[in-house]
Amino acid sequence: MDEARISRHGSGAKLWLAGGWLLLALLAAIFAPLVAPQDPLAQDLMLERLPPFWLDGAEPGYWLGTDSLGRDLLSRLIFGGRIAFIVAFAAAIAACVVGSTLGLIAGYFGGWADRIISRIVDVWMAFPPVLFAILLVAVLGTGLSSVILAIAIIDWTRFCRVIRAEAMGQSRMDYVENARIAGYGRIGIMLREVLPNVVPSVVALLSLEMGIAVIVEAILSFVICRSRPTTRLGAASSPRAVSRSTRHGGCWFSR
């Protein structure tokens, strides 16, 4: 009993800590132009490679120092957070809609629909994800929307597999049988009876997927060095990352 209460108390503290940090990051991202001390794209070669505030030689107003082009790292982080949040929400929701829909259809209808969808999922899971993402971005172009699209195209299988299994279990329940006897159509049952019962899993997967989307976005913007200056978390994640990507030279592939 005591142990349970302690662990619940512990997870409560964790929840507040994590939620608070997330809220802070979200607010900073939304109000980035007000919060950021500098323009994230403003270059000043007189101020290049400044150290962070706890080291000698730091400039006031540049709390985390600057990169090799003299851009303020804190401001780049704050503005980069915007893109991270946009990608996290958009890509996760897109992957969720596609994957859950197909999973629901496969799990509830079974038969050929299930066989075809499951085979596609197998094929998708056999791709090396990072390489697949790089390939897709090479095809789709380098903008924010293609990054979101690429993540959604790769990660819908995660939803599909779980929701398929859930829907399969739910459709064998008595209440589904009762609804059928009551005269509801199959699509009606799927949407009105089965769907609400798989929503908890969808929500859990969605939160997981948001974290993954941020990481994939960081990987993509790290690998793909664009010719124009950007404010992505992946590119701003370390001064070395920035110096590395600039050293590899402007274009990763031309558009």
């Binding site: 085979r119 791709f127 090396p128 095809v139 990481i215 592939f253």
Partner: protein
């Protein structure tokens, strides 16, 4: 029974690989950017471009190209790389051992680190030691592998330069190897000087790949161990006078390991997928690094070959995990 399931799995495996081949074939051919235009100097005439396109078979329709390629694959011919002008199969097999060595070293490290911390955490359950392990695995898990790579470069490549930050082996060394498995062969030939040089290059990317997996192993195995440690037969072993460490190693570990083993199999494929970016980061001359170059150069045959080899690795690992699970789990064996 087991054989029949094995054969069915083999058939679905082939279908999956065929699907991968189709998808990658279509995806890279709708990509903008012409590999032929990249090969020729700016002054090339349209006639030259057309001739070179015909030479690489790129003037035919996608469907025709696919079946020509598939017929080649059936003969063991994966085509010729456009940018490197070498046989794709040879290129891939030249690089694959480097990636496999890296992945295997990373896996061994992950199991060693994860297993040790799990056993330690289960023995010291409820103490500050366990809390410390939990915090450390939380940190290891929430930082992705390529970011660990950057952190490691900063720590052990720049601040305390004990490891080499790029490449697979020091270029000035004379390598007597006949295979591409440098690390394993250096051990077999007892050339430990070369082993050390290879490890100095390999350890950082391997740690970067291993840390997230180590955290997963640590958490899952610790949980399973804690559950098993409350069972009667373990209590009996304790009553017999075994120490807690002995109880864990001799009695509990065997029964707690099965879920972890399955998960490690699945996670190993993620680890191999992660080598693409980590190899790039450390300029490690493996398959992943070559893959990114191939995408940059629009080297269609090479991309196809590499993706297919990765896919083959993934399905083979999944097959091995399933078979191992069936062999180790008595309930499935007799079911």
């Amino acid at each position: 029974m087991l054989l029949q399931r094995f054969l069915i799995r083999l058939a679905t495996m082939l279908i999956t690989l065929f699907g991968v081949a189709v998808v990658v074939f279509v995806v890279i051919r709708v990509a903008p950017g012409d590999p032929i235009a990249m090969m020729l100097p700016p002054g090339a005439t349209n006639d030259d471009i057309a001739r070179l396109r015909a030479l690489y078979g790129l003037d035919k329709t996608i469907v025709q190209q696919f079946f020509i390629w598939l017929a080649g694959v059936a003969r063991g011919d994966f085509g010729t790389s456009i940018s490197l002008r070498q046989d794709v199969l040879g290129l891939v097999f030249n690089r694959l051992p480097a990636t496999l060595e890296l992945a295997i070293v990373a896996l061994v490290m992950a199991v060693a680190i994860g297993g040790t911390t799990a056993i330690l955490g289960a023995r010291e359950r409820g103490t500050a030691v366990e809390a410390g392990i939990d915090i450390a695995s939380g940190a290891a898990l929430s930082i992705p592998d390529f970011l660990w790579g950057l952190v490691l470069i900063l720590l052990f490549g720049v601040l305390v330069p004990i490891f080499d930050i790029s490449g697979r082996v020091s270029p000035q060394l004379d390598l007597p190897f006949v295979s591409q498995f440098y690390l394993f062969e250096s051990l077999l030939r007892l050339r430990f000087d070369l082993t050390w040089d290879l490890l100095k290059h390999m350890l950082m990317p391997a740690i970067a790949l291993a840390l997230p997996l180590a955290a997963i192993i640590s958490q899952l195995l610790k949980q399973s161990l804690k559950e098993v440690l409350d069972l009667d037969y373990v209590v009996l072993a304790r009553v017999k006078g075994f120490s807690e460490t002995q109880v864990i190693l001799r009695e509990a570990l065997k029964n707690a390991a099965l879920p972890t083993l399955t998960l490690v199999g699945v996670q190993f494929t993620f680890l191999i997928g992660g080598t693409v970016i980590v190899e790039r980061l450390f300029s490690y001359e493996g398959l992943g690094n070559m893959a990114i170059d191939a995408v940059i150069n629009r080297d269609l045959p090479l991309i196809q070959g590499i993706v297919l080899v990765f896919a083959l690795l993934f399905v083979l690992i999944n097959l091995a995990v399933d078979m191992m699970y069936a062999l180790l789990n008595p309930r499935l064996r007799h079911g």
